[in-house]
């Protein structure tokens, strides 16, 4: 098996290694395999936040709205053109992923997409939003079972659409599964949905900044995503939504707010949706949180998305190799596809005792997520995760298993009732 020295050699050869200094790493001994839950703080973001707090809010006060009023679209354009394979004017930074999903699903239903389709392993908020719309409007929600490791497949989607009337399906799926890390085949799934006259709404939360995304090339109609994982926008940073240009004028957000109103400051009596993607805005956006997004985007662009993907694949491959050598004997199974082109940037290690193992790992200085029912989710953000971090984290994990130190922790998560 690869040695610690060999992992260190990989880091020395890593062209992205110098960029690690550009994010704050306060406790180098704490191994952070959770950048897919909350990305690290870029150094430049601290500077930008200081500026928005002191100069723009503190000093400029209300007059700073001249700079802030277009921030949602300016950041949206940067995401569209450089991260999503879309065009300027198609993406807006706004609200949370949940609220953006709600708006786009509502708009699609009102436009005739009255059969909602998703997979049972989709992220909870996606499923809940769809359940809510289905209940509220009495439309159909078809939930199909997807492969627990490989995620939703084009063939499964085709089966789920078999009895759906042509032109009525809205298929909502995650590009990268929050649990397994499976990367869905966007082109193949879109083709199947389009053949049925349907639309696809992709949730890009676990994909954006980590894997190539080609919304235009795949003909994607709608998408949402967050900015606080691989994009390093900060805890709960505002999310984004994408609406393909040709659909914008025919769609309406269910939430009619003054930031989505044509000529907002005319304060007109009647709501008239603004032109373009702006109509999907709602209320006053949280400027300080939104301003924190841009330096993280610029840092990823400086790294280069192809180089990030290349390193991400190498990191996840290393983790899987270490799993094979060290962890499979302790009863772990791999919850993530082995084929690099079929996974994102996190790896799921499944074990019946995953919850208490995750607690013990935290105590041992390795930050991973536990995801019900049995998954240790190891996020390997390529911008700042080193090969030696992966090696060291897996080494600590095998030690925990060898010593059974994890049995000192409570076996199950405390339920909230």
């Amino acid at each position: 098996m690869i040695s610690r020295a060999e992992a260190e050699a990989l880091d020395r050869a890593d062209p992205l290694a110098p960029l690690r200094q550009r994010v704050v790493i306060a406790n180098p001994s704490r191994l952070y395999l959770d950048g897919n839950s909350l990305g690290r703080l870029p150094v430049a973001t601290r500077v930008r936040l200081q500026q928005v707090i002191d100069a723009e809010w503190g000093e400029g006060l209300v007059e700073s709205w001249a700079q802030w009023i277009d921030l949602d679209k300016r950041l949206g354009d940067k995401l569209a053109c450089h991260f999503l394979g879309a065009a300027a004017g198609e993406v807006l930074v706004s609200d949370s992923t949940t609220v953006n999903l709600y708006k786009l699903v509502g708009a699609a239903v009102a436009s005739g997409k009255t059969v909602l389709v998703t997979d049972g392993d989709n992220f909870p908020t996606d499923r809940y939003v769809l359940q809510g719309w289905a209940q509220q409007l009495g439309v159909t929600l078809n939930v199909f079972a997807s492969h627990p490791v490989y995620g939703p497949q084009a063939a499964e989607v085709a089966t789920a659409l078999r009895h759906v009337p042509h032109g009525t399906a809205l298929v909502c799926l995650s590009h990268v599964s929050y649990r397994s890390g499976a990367l869905a085949d966007m082109a193949a799934i879109n083709a199947v949905v389009h053949q049925a006259g349907g639309w696809v709404l992709w949730d890009l939360c676990h994909a954006v900044g980590a894997v190539p995304i080609a919304l235009h090339a795949t003909g994607t109609e709608l998408a949402v995503g967050c900015t606080y994982k691989y994009l390093n926008g900060g805890p709960g940073a505002p999310a984004f939504l994408y609406v393909r240009r040709d659909l914008q004028e025919t769609l309406r957000s269910p939430i009619w707010g003054w930031f989505g109103q044509r000529d907002q400051f005319a304060f007109g009596a009647q709501y008239q949706p603004a032109p373009g993607v702006q109509r999907f805005a709602t209320g006053t956006p949280p400027v300080v949180a939104m301003a924190a997004i841009e330096p993280g985007l610029d840092l990823l662009l400086e790294a280069g998305l192809e180089r990030l993907r290349h390193k991400s694949i190498a990191l996840t491959a290393l983790l899987i190799a270490l799993y094979d050598a060290w962890l499979a004997p302790y009863g772990f199974t791999l919850g993530t596809p082995r084929e690099p082109q079929r996974r994102g940037s996190h790896v799921a290690l499944r074990h019946p005792e995953a919850y208490r193992i995750s607690r013990a790992l935290l105590r041992a200085g390795v930050v991973v997520d536990f995801r019900e029912p049995d998954t240790l989710r190891c996020g390997l953000a390529p911008l700042y995760t080193r090969f030696v971090d992966v090696w060291e984290a897996m080494d600590r994990l095998r030690t925990l298993m060898a010593t059974q130190a994890y049995t000192a922790f409570s076996p199950t998560r405390a339920r909230v009732t």
Copy 2:
């Protein structure tokens, strides 16, 4: 008329004067009469933001969610108990005012309140949200004309409710009018609505932190408000919503998100609303923006809401007296009630040339808002606005009128098409 020296004497006698140092005042010569649009930056907020950015995000990373997960409720409790006359567990900080309005109106409609009532001068986003729900669900929206200076009156509400079936009305009004500054009689209006078996949803954006609010004493069912005006929470800081305790378990947000889910991290298959006000949460909240709210609340509590109200009335009275003496001769009219108990903390000066006068005032170092069609809106946040600021601002305004310097500016706002 009062002299500048007399205004300065009022400031010397002001018990709140020392608190002015506790907010950032970068340009003392720039007179800021716009704290009702965006409150100033409290010095303690800079410290808190530094902490949330560096220590909580930068260092604590995902583990800081242990502190963040209850922030929406903790801030809600502080608002409920100290600002709103409500109880702990009834208020949640969440989303924007627009989205909160949307959620509460939707919940009320689903619960049988199928006749929506508002006044035509209500803030645009309130009217648009109601229009959206009316269009979406085919329910009735009654818009009544309220008095342009005194705002909605109980008698007007009674008339608007005359033909509404008992028990079906949801009346949505602003406690303080965004334009006129009129303070609605919450108790009297609630009594009329309750007599008709209806509910009231109060928009508290221009009221909270400036006027006494007694949600429980008046039997208010629902309310929303923002935190970036008199509460100084920062640009676009998350808003709040209030749902009276006894209604919480019967109401459901139309937006079913994972932050409103019972036992959120069980990631259950089926959405089950969380107990209490938490069910009105949606997605991941913008933590950095939310954390900025608390120091502003604490600062107002240190000042004391009664003392703030007392000073606010004195400030607005001074402005009205100066208007009478200096501005009425130039064609201004007063757009705000003269009776102190009938106004909030801003004063509307109406003039046919208001737009270009507002531009000229900005150039002269006086920051006020222009509001269509003819209003200069002068916000007098009592925490940091001095009597001499009011005196000096009105002095600059009368000079502009005497010299007609404002005619150098474009007569109308540029329309956005």
